[in-house]
Symmetry: C2
């Protein structure tokens, strides 16, 4: 079938990847196959929107079926992602014209962009640009972010698995430090991701009371970090429980509004590139209270931790992918797929929200999700997080190592 016979879909992955973004790709693929008569090809941009800008395009049906099947349990962005913020089209239309040119050339009638708040902004801008140029390309945003900070959706695919990893790791580390605390390490600090929203730090709170009192302290970016209160609580926890587990969001700030972490380089979206608040707190605790401290920075280990996938999350990622293609078959455009609630059979009910209502917006932890003292989560928050970390989706292993998808990613021949 010629690439020109029916309108093709262009799908791409954008922003920081997640352990389940490829499950979304699998959902798109499966629904595309179901609606084979409706569409031309399912083309995928290599490295996000860069695939359009550079005309580096993959035809998923050229990949091995076996490897496509594995996408459901493979972390990272199998097609490559990007951190590219398109220039303001009012000031510079070069990139927009280029994308339009490529989309026209490859007969693209449908644009599916899979990302967080910044990526939804890209989708919105492109949608407006296509409209202005009277080109009929349907644009659908698909949510994805471990930060869980997109508005208008019950949750964001990617969060549940990382939340499960953080809850599990915090529980495990608490058992370690509590066994060492009598004559050695008394404090363990775990730094997790979450630039402005404390969802991931909060996820650690679900373990409280199960085996022990950890985490005794959660530091949310929604709360101003106060050294004195923090040290007092740490000391009290060690005195009461024998040890103290602290889970800290990378993005905590002091009352002046400065990040506590040391690094302050910025990514291409202009966000500070953080990391390294754990060692700073470790030194603070050690110097002020004299306790031996261990600390960990989870970084990509959390973001890629597909080996302990949450079934609820994998299902969610898959379902938003399928829904995006269903929307296309109905002629729907300019919306982001949203997650509504889980059905009895385990699948998620999905909905939609106008792109303008999600682009560049961040949903922080509601105040009734954080305890009064600011160091724990509330019952309502715990219930919410438990709904997202439910079930275990363990990937298959070969020779003791997870058997993840390995795509060829051979680009289709450039059209003239």
């Amino acid at each position: 079938m010629s690439i020109k016979s029916k309108k093709n879909i262009f799908y791409a992955q954008s922003g920081g990847v997640t352990p389940v973004i490829n499950a979304t790709a699998k959902g798109i693929y499966d629904e595309f196959k179901k609606n084979r008569k409706f569409f031309g090809r399912l083309l995928i941009g290599k490295n996000g929107i860069a695939g359009a800008l550079n005309e580096e395009i993959i035809d998923i049906e050229k990949e091995k079926k076996k490897e496509i099947e594995k996408l459901i349990h493979t972390p990272g962005g199998a097609f490559g992602s990007c951190r590219i913020k398109l220039k303001d089209p009012k000031k510079d239309q070069h990139e927009f014209n280029r994308i339009l040119e490529v989309f026209k050339k490859y007969n693209i009638g449908y644009f599916l962009y899979n990302g967080g708040g910044d990526s939804q902004d890209t989708t919105l801008k492109l949608s407006k640009f296509f409209k202005k140029n009277r080109i009929d390309i349907k644009c659908i945003g698909i949510p994805k972010t471990i930060d869980n900070d997109l508005p208008g959706t019950y949750a964001c695919p990617g969060f549940g698995t990382v939340a499960k990893y953080i809850a599990t790791s915090t529980l495990e580390a608490s058992l370690d430090v509590s066994s060492m605390s009598n004559s050695s390490t008394k404090v363990f600090i775990l730094e997790v991701m979450g630039r402005h929203a404390g969802w991931l730090a909060g996820a650690s709170g679900v373990i409280k009371g199960i085996n022990n009192n950890a985490p005794q302290i959660i530091l949310f970016p929604e709360k101003i970090f106060d050294e004195k209160t923090f040290l007092k609580k740490t000391k009290k926890s060690v005195e009461d429980d024998g040890f103290c587990v602290i889970v800290v969001s990378e993005g905590i700030k002091n009352k002046k509004g400065d990040f506590i972490s040391s690094s302050s380089s910025k990514d291409s979206f202009g966000h500070a590139h953080l990391g390294g608040v754990a060692p700073i707190l470790a030194n603070l605790v050690n110097n002020s209270l004299g306790y031996k401290v261990h600390w960990a920075v989870a970084d990509y280990l959390q973001r890629a931790a597909r080996h302990i996938g949450a079934e609820a999350d994998v299902q969610q990622a898959y379902d938003v992918g399928r829904q995006s293609v269903q929307f296309l078959t109905k002629g729907i455009s300019d919306v982001m797929v949203t997650v509504l609630k889980r059905k009895r059979d385990g699948a998620w009910m999905t909905g939609k929200i106008p792109l303008g209502k999600v682009a560049n917006k961040e949903k922080k932890l509601p105040s009734n999700f954080i305890s009064k003292d600011g160091f724990s989560i509330t019952t309502i928050c715990r219930k919410y997080i438990l709904s997202l970390i439910d079930g275990e989706s363990i990937p298959p292993f070969v020779n003791g190592i997870p058997n993840y998808s390995k795509l060829e990613l051979r680009e289709i021949k450039k059209l003239k």
Copy 2:
């Protein structure tokens, strides 16, 4: 049955804990139950040898059966561990006399100490002291260390599970960074444990070639860190593969013999307490080569990662526990249980080595396990590590969270 009727066993956990040390405790318990007529009680020291010094002793049969069963899949030291180095008995016999006094009081005829090189030294010293005082207390050391650095044994229980976690996490993070590398992060650095021996760093090498070329660089403590060669290799890797994954052992040193890591506090054994070489390398790479770098420090996350247990390792931990009790029934003393090789049914053949040959000794990576350029492992090393990370032992989950053992740890009434 009176505590005095038959000789009792005193078991304790010592040193840094592992994800499977409790599987050893379960092996001891099961074998003790099988040989019920031979022994009095199975008493366990709270917090290692401190349990003897402080007369804080647990009778395992007072714990709930259900929770004892869970020990097979519970990380950390369920009975508490310690970092206590007994004073040289030639200079100060106070601690030795105290332990002897308590052991006599509680009718201890058997001492099982579960730990690494330092703990084997404790067992050896106690054994000598008991002999000198003509007290018949059989002493058996049981290996345990994620560092895998005990001599005279094929491997150390604890290593396989942490190796599996590191291999899996490195693979997952490599999929993450490779998807980001086109327009963002190009280098990912993972810091793992291993003070003097590079077994854990080396474990990451088993994934090379499976999905991609990661880890392109492993930094072993057995090799002197050379900044120039390191940066050259990093640059070459990014140029060839688009990204570079670096796994670094916490204990790497420069040619002057100084640790690259920043922290230099010491633990009670006089070992430097390390951690924090990853951020130093991250800054070095960023400043010298300009690449965006992400870094993680696994710390306790690796040491407690029971959620991804290696079946081969769990079995090993269980088997050395059982063997230690079998040795007691045969009147064997003053040895450490060793691991020989795995049988077809999955169980491990075990053996023994005199305590004097393992105490305070460290087995480093043999030179034929490290590649010529010093940045990878060899085929023989890969085969060895694969034999230890084999199989998946996933704990049961409840509400999305691992269901780990929770013991009461109620001490028995102090005898007069």
